[in-house]
């Protein structure tokens, strides 16, 4: 499909990663997104946010073509097969994994294999460091094409891929891929140090080792239900979002992919939300990734230490808590969806539900057999104490409303979850015991939620005492077992969500104004939450049907964006979104458990 004004649908992207950053590769062979050195740094390829100024790495036949794509089994290494009138070519893309040896800081590798005939190929690297804000000079280093912009630089290696030609803004080449031929292109990135210019043998060896790493990692997935392929892909997508030096998980590796084309709901997701803590710990433990769960748990306990007992909503992947929101006015935005934002103003909001997520995560961690050190145990107890003091406050809620704070029922219920888990932890002797105080506050919260947050006419919990509409976040009351998932009130809430917020298995977050303006699509996380809630309510057949349908909405390589348009299935929002894949994994495991 030709690009429209330089853009392809979000659905057409596949993701590569190395545990530090993520590249997005379009179906036409162009790498349109890559931030270096880390996922939350500026982009060097940012065409997805500005088709003219963003920068990219194109690689495709120089004649009309059709493509098929797939990841190599159990890996995050992508193969794209180009079929043309003159032959067939396969491109294998990988972000290679480094090591202690003299390897580039980051490395993107593209192998081109001629499968049949003779196909003319062209490639073009347009580096635009720091979202295109830095002046880039292009020249040669030791005979190799090289682009530099202050602290950042990249070298382009081309073996059997034509003679590179250099211009002021790009490095490009052409070659013919004949049956049996193998060409190799390599972008070696450096940051704050001299560049490493790799040799071909080493690059090919790293690609092999990268494939082996992914295969052995994904083989550890502990799930033997009917959707193993999808669960493994979900786990691999999640692993792409892990910043391996710290164990933090970015909500998504992109910024400002719009929640509606042309709209202003464009946010930077390249941070770690504590809200995702519980879902992440749960998913990692359920899949058997104890090490990753351990790393993530200790990352968020350490990251939040500077603000404890108050918890900030989100933190940087390196543990920093500054996420000042700004705009990049020089970028057009994906299909003119402005503004492009960096940083996230939600960091300063009060969102009470986060306490429930974190305490539940601590509970899951301890329940899995791990223990807390004394200092951490004391901090956890202090967080629970803090919840008893603040639960009566209004907040901005799980959806980070930019309208006036209110008393969200979901937030209050999650405060109850926080105190309930604190009591469970104290009963186990894992944290100091102040159960009497916590239980008293928890009872008050329950009284508030059940009397003022429940609408007998709708037979459902509602968004807030002063906002009697539905909110899909209330589905998580089943997931966190605020009540028995088969309880009449929770089943009533499921029914109300299906009635008022769902289109088939797809679910909107809410229908009312949230202070931002503009439209948005259906929220895929909520759609998988609905499956999960149905499974826990014992409605396995219904949940299975919805799950099967939701799985058909994945793109050709099994990935999801944050949202989807129900009418045409177009992806919206940042991509790939960790929370959606977490919800998918958890729903699949819940269904497997329920079916048993």
């Amino acid at each position: 499909m030709p690009r429209q004004n330089g853009y392809v649908p979000i659905r057409d992207y596949a993701a590569l990663g190395d545990g530090r950053t993520v590249a997005l590769v379009a179906r036409d062979g162009s790498v349109d997104w890559l931030c270096v050195p880390d996922a939350d740094s500026g982009s060097v390829f940012g065409r997805i946010l500005d088709a003219r100024r963003g920068g990219c790495f194109e690689l495709q036949p120089d004649q009309p073509f059709e493509t098929e794509r797939t990841y190599l089994d159990g890996s995050n290494v992508l193969t794209t097969t180009f079929r043309t009138a003159d032959g067939v070519v396969r491109v294998t893309d990988a972000m290679t994994l480094g090591g202690p040896q003299l390897t580039p800081v980051r490395e993107l590798t593209r192998s081109v294999e001629g499968l049949s005939g003779r196909v003319p190929m062209r490639w073009r690297v347009e580096p635009r460091f720091d979202f295109g804000r830095k002046r880039t000079t292009i020249g040669l280093r030791s005979g190799r094409p090289f682009a530099a912009a202050d602290r950042d630089a990249l070298a382009v290696g081309a073996w059997d891929a034509g003679e590179p030609t250099l211009s002021t803004d790009a490095i490009e080449g052409r070659f013919d891929a004949e049956s049996g031929s193998r060409a190799l292109l390599n972008v070696a990135v450096t940051h704050q140090e001299p560049a490493v210019l790799p040799c071909r043998d080493d690059v090919e060896d790293r690609v092999r080792r990268t494939i082996e790493f992914w295969e052995s990692w994904s083989a550890r997935v502990r799930y033997d239900g009917r959707w193993r392929d999808e669960v493994v892909r979900g786990a691999l997508a999640l692993k792409l979002c892990v910043f391996s030096p710290s164990g933090a998980i970015v909500a998504a590796p992109t910024t400002s992919l719009p929640e509606w084309i042309g709209g202003n709901r464009n946010w930077d997701y390249r941070f770690t939300w504590l809200r995702d803590a519980s879902f992440t710990t749960d998913a990692l433990l359920r899949l058997g990734f104890d090490d990753e769960a351990h790393s993530f748990f200790w990352w968020f306990m350490h990251a939040s230490r500077l603000t404890q007992p108050r918890l900030q909503i989100l933190y940087r992947v390196n543990g920093g808590y500054q996420a000042t929101e700004g705009e990049l006015p020089h970028l057009d935005g994906y299909r003119s969806s402005k503004p492009v934002r960096v940083g996230n103003g939600a960091a300063k909001q009060v969102q009470l539900d986060v306490y429930g997520d974190v305490l539940d995560s601590v509970w899951l961690y301890v329940e899995s057999g791990k223990s807390l050190d004394k200092a951490t145990a004391k901090e956890v107890a202090k967080i629970a104490d803090y919840v008893t003091e603040i639960w009566r406050d209004a907040d901005s809620g799980i959806w980070e409303m930019r309208s006036d704070p209110t008393h969200f029922v979901h937030s209050k219920a999650m405060c109850w979850v926080a105190l309930d888990r604190a009591c469970r932890l104290a009963a186990r002797g894992a944290i100091p015991d102040r159960r009497e105080r916590w239980r008293r506050a928890a009872d008050e919260i329950r009284e508030f939620v059940d009397s003022r947050g429940f609408d007998p006419e709708k037979n459902s919990y509602v968004r807030a005492p002063d906002r009697r509409e539905l909110d899909a976040s209330l589905l998580t009351l089943s997931l966190f077992e605020y009540r028995d998932p088969r309880d009449e009130r929770l089943v009533g809430t499921i029914e109300a969500v299906k009635r008022e917020l769902a289109e088939g298995p797809l679910v909107y977050r809410y229908r009312s104004d949230d202070g931002v303006g503009g439209r948005e699509g259906c929220f895929l996380t909520c759609s998988f939450w609905l499956v999960d809630a149905l499974a826990r309510a014992g409605r396995v057949d219904e949940a299975t049907r919805d799950m099967e349908t939701l799985l058909t909405y994945a793109n050709d390589v099994g990935l999801y964006a944050e949202e989807i348009r129900p009418d045409d299935g177009a992806f919206l929002g940042n991509f790939p979104q960790a929370l959606v894949h977490l919800a998918l994994v958890n729903a699949a495991v819940s269904l497997m458990d329920a079916a048993r």
Binding site: P100, L102, R141, S142, A153, P194, V196, C199
Partner: protein, 162 residues
């Protein structure tokens, strides 16, 4: 005037020089990483290279301080300004010949005009006055060596400024 003072100044000056270059790296002014450049002469392992590189750089700092001391003895005086002037010469030598010509000549992992990365990975060469590592590398190199020289001169000359 004290030769031992020059050596003590070399110790302090090397710490200051290393730290200021590291700050310049963090501020995005240069990609020069001297410990990595020096350490990779001996090993292709990044961690080991950094440790070896720092040790070698420290040794160089003392060795150059001894040379400064010899010049001060020959001149019969030492001061911060005199040391700073020697620092300019030191920077020109380091950026023009030492790192630009001599280091690539002996470095098994650095690109030169007559080697490329066909068989083994190589480090980007620094170029004249380290300009390959960023346009402010020249300033970083000269500035940090002036600072180093001034400290060595001050220590050797009983903290005389001029």
């Amino acid at each position: 005037m004290s030769f031992w003072g020059a050596l003590a100044g070399g110790l302090v000056g090397t710490v200051v020089l290393s730290s200021s270059l590291r700050f310049a790296q963090e501020l995005g002014l240069t990609r020069m990483d001297l410990p990595l450049l020096l350490g990779t002469v001996f090993t292709g392992n990044r961690r080991r290279a950094s440790v070896i590189g720092y040790a070698w750089h420290f040794f160089n700092g003392l060795w150059f301080a001894a040379l400064y001391g010899v010049v001060f003895l020959a001149a019969g005086s030492a001061s911060a300004v005199f040391g700073a002037l020697l620092g300019v010469v030191h920077a020109l030598f380091a950026g023009g010949a030492l790192v630009n010509v001599l280091l690539p000549a002996i470095h098994p992992r650095m690109g030169t005009r007559w080697t490329d990365a066909s068989q083994t990975p190589i480090l980007e060469p620094p170029g004249f006055m380290l300009r390959n590592y960023g346009r402010y590398s020249v300033l970083g190199n000269v500035g940090s060596h002036i600072l180093y020289g001034a400290i060595v001169g001050a220590f050797a000359g009983d903290f005389a400024i001029v």
